[in-house]
């Protein structure tokens, strides 16, 4: 009987978080993208689509500021002809859209949406491999894009597929390495516990909690007292590399080479129409939402309110009060939406990278930077204990080692960065 209830609860969570919460957010982030970019470009954007009362014989429509535009878009995608060109490889052509949409939605399983509601944790699967699961599943979506480009049997689509393949694989390394210092601080991979750590100690990028004896507490105090503040440097670097890599992973604007309209017609989805195209489109936005959710969870405290405010939501027995889950859910969604708006702002700020610049940024800059970052964070975290035990000599050797490693990396990066001498004919 217990297992049935467990399955039922899980089903409710899956339907709730995926279909009730995330899919509307995807639809409305498309609307937000169109309205926000319109504002940045002195346009108005979709502001007419509302309730079409004139269809039912009334005098006027209700425009609602175009808020029903996503519904109209969805309806259009469903009603359009689903055309499969004769020159494509049908099996992979049909498989590819699903392979981009499904991994993006699968990764939602481990994202903690809130603390607890009715005694249930607001996360579909509370597994202890959170970020690893997300990296593993999210990297599957490259198959969708590559299959689409190859199966389309079209040279532009193929270029798009190949580009995305190379790009996503290169940035996955930076993505994985950049998050290691963060995980060293948390000491675990369970995303729910990571957020709870941040609820207690303050957000990772702003580890301050107010209240307590001194007025405010510093979250990194366990890592060498006041010197723990040095940890903010590697964390900020991690945050930067991680964010940029997420941009590259989700094919967002400065790195949207797989579908760059100016070079590749439509990129990998040139030959797609109707709902198959919609799956690519929605998959991209779903990946963006999961990316934002992951950044928020790791660096901005996930569902926690931060600054020690979460302590106010606990009762005497140190449990969450009944409505805490809803407040946390709201806080989480607010942060994610703020990040989506940031994604859109960046899209209209930074021009597209050239392909060699993109690869160089990934392999020569971020890869090395992330490696050095791990060592620096490790030394800062190890230093207090080593001093306590009187192992000053070993510490100095370690620091020298890190510096030597950094210099070696810099030299390697420089040598790769060198321009080739022009060949004489």
């Amino acid at each position: 009987m217990d297992i049935l209830i467990l399955i039922l609860i899980t089903m409710v969570k899956i339907v709730g978080f995926t279909f009730v919460l995330t899919l509307p957010i995807i639809a409305y982030s498309v609307y937000a993208e169109r309205r926000f970019s319109a504002i940045l470009q002195d346009r108005v954007g979709p502001n007419r689509t509302g309730i079409p009362l004139t269809l039912f014989g009334f005098k006027k429509d209700i425009p609602l500021q175009g808020l029903l535009q996503p519904l109209a878009d969805g309806l259009k995608f469903i009603l359009k002809e689903d055309f499969t060109p004769s020159h494509v490889n049908k099996f992979f052509f049909w498989l590819a859209p699903a392979l981009t949409m499904v991994p993006a939605l699968l990764t939602l399983a481990v994202i903690p949406f809130g603390s607890e509601l009715f005694g249930e944790k607001l996360v579909i699967a509370d597994v202890s491999v959170g970020p690893l699961f997300i990296f593993a599943i999210a990297s599957l979506s490259v198959y969708g894009i590559t299959f689409a480009g190859w199966a389309s049997n079209n040279k532009y689509s193929f270029f798009g597929g190949v580009r995305s393949c190379a790009q996503m694989i290169s940035y996955e390394i930076a993505l994985g390495l950049s998050v290691i210092p963060v995980l060293m601080i948390f000491g675990q991979l369970n995303l729910t516990n990571i957020v709870e750590w941040q609820a207690q100690h303050g957000w990772l990028l702003c580890p301050i909690t107010f209240g307590g004896e001194n007025g405010f507490d510093f979250g990194f105090y366990e890592f060498g007292g006041p010197l723990g503040i040095l940890l903010l440097l590697p964390i900020f670097l991690s945050f930067f590399i991680f964010t940029v890599s997420i941009f590259a992973e989700t094919n967002r604007m400065p790195f949207d080479l797989p579908e760059c309209e100016t070079e590749l017609v439509g990129g990998y989805h040139t030959e797609y129409s109707s709902m198959k195209f919609a799956l690519f489109f929605l998959g991209e936005y779903a990946a963006m939402i999961v990316g934002s959710a992951l950044i928020v969870t790791l660096f901005f405290g996930g569902w926690s309110l931060g600054f020690g405010l979460d302590a106010l939501l606990k009762d005497d027995t140190d449990n969450w009060v009944a409505y805490a889950g809803l407040i946390h859910l709201g806080a989480f969604l607010t942060k994610v939406i703020a990040f989506i708006l940031f994604f859109i702002l960046v899209r209209w700020t930074v021009p597209r990278f050239r392909y060699d610049q993109l690869m160089k940024l990934g392999w020569v800059v971020f890869f090395e930077l992330a490696l050095i970052n791990i060592l620096v964070a490790a030394v800062i975290m190890a230093a207090p204990n080593m001093v306590e035990r009187g192992e000053i000599g070993a510490l100095i050797v370690l620091i020298i080692g890190v510096i030597a490693f950094s210099i070696a990396m810099f030299v390697i990066a420089k040598s790769l960065d060198k321009k080739k001498a022009p060949q004489s004919l």
Partner: protein
């Protein structure tokens, strides 16, 4: 000989090479523009009588009629003079010059008991097919009677091909009365 001056290409300093400061600056520029746009202070928002969101005009509610220049070439239309006489004498010059053959005129005689019998001819039917018209203004240029003008009418819509043919009544409705032209047939000066 002019002195040849060699200019050195400016080098990027370290801050500029880092690219980060430029990114932040760019984001600030875009954000500032967004704020301006939302508060209705973007360039041309007031001058162009736009919707306030950027410089875009919300068409059916906001029209650009006030901003049309004098020389605007909209739909061709027939005009009447001060005494409400139709100026067209159906010489059919416009019909013959019309490059896309949009104009069709059936002339008719003015009966002898009419006030303007001396003009002798007027159009019985005057159709302009607006699906063919290219707004070139040749009809206006060729008309010896100053009877046809391209007016500021630009909202020409219809749900069928027949709707898009302007007949005589419609043409006079668009054209209206036009004063201050040369008078051939009356004693007005």
């Amino acid at each position: 000989m002019a002195e040849v001056k060699k200019l050195k290409r400016p080098e990027l300093n370290t801050g500029e090479k880092l690219y980060l400061i430029a990114l932040a600056k760019g984001a600030m520029v875009t954000l500032k523009h967004a704020v301006k746009s939302v508060t209705g202070k973007s360039r041309g928002a007031t001058g162009l009588n736009s919707s306030g969101l950027g410089i875009t005009m919300q068409f059916p509610e906001q029209r650009w009629d006030d901003f049309l220049p004098e020389y605007y070439r909209g739909a061709p239309a027939l005009v009447t003079d001060e005494q409400d006489r139709e100026r067209c004498v159906s010489c059919q010059l416009c019909e013959f010059i019309c490059p896309p053959k949009a104009i069709k005129i059936i002339p008719a005689e003015i009966p002898a008991d009419d006030e303007w019998a001396k003009v002798e001819k007027r159009p019985k039917e005057f159709d302009i097919d607006m699906t063919r018209c290219i707004y070139c203004g040749m009809c206006e240029e060729v008309c010896p009677e100053q009877a046809i003008y391209l007016r500021k009418e630009y909202l020409i819509t219809g749900t069928s091909r027949e709707d898009m043919v302007h007949n005589k009544a419609k043409l006079y409705e668009i054209g209206g009365k036009r004063v201050g032209l040369v008078n051939k047939w009356n004693e007005l000066k």
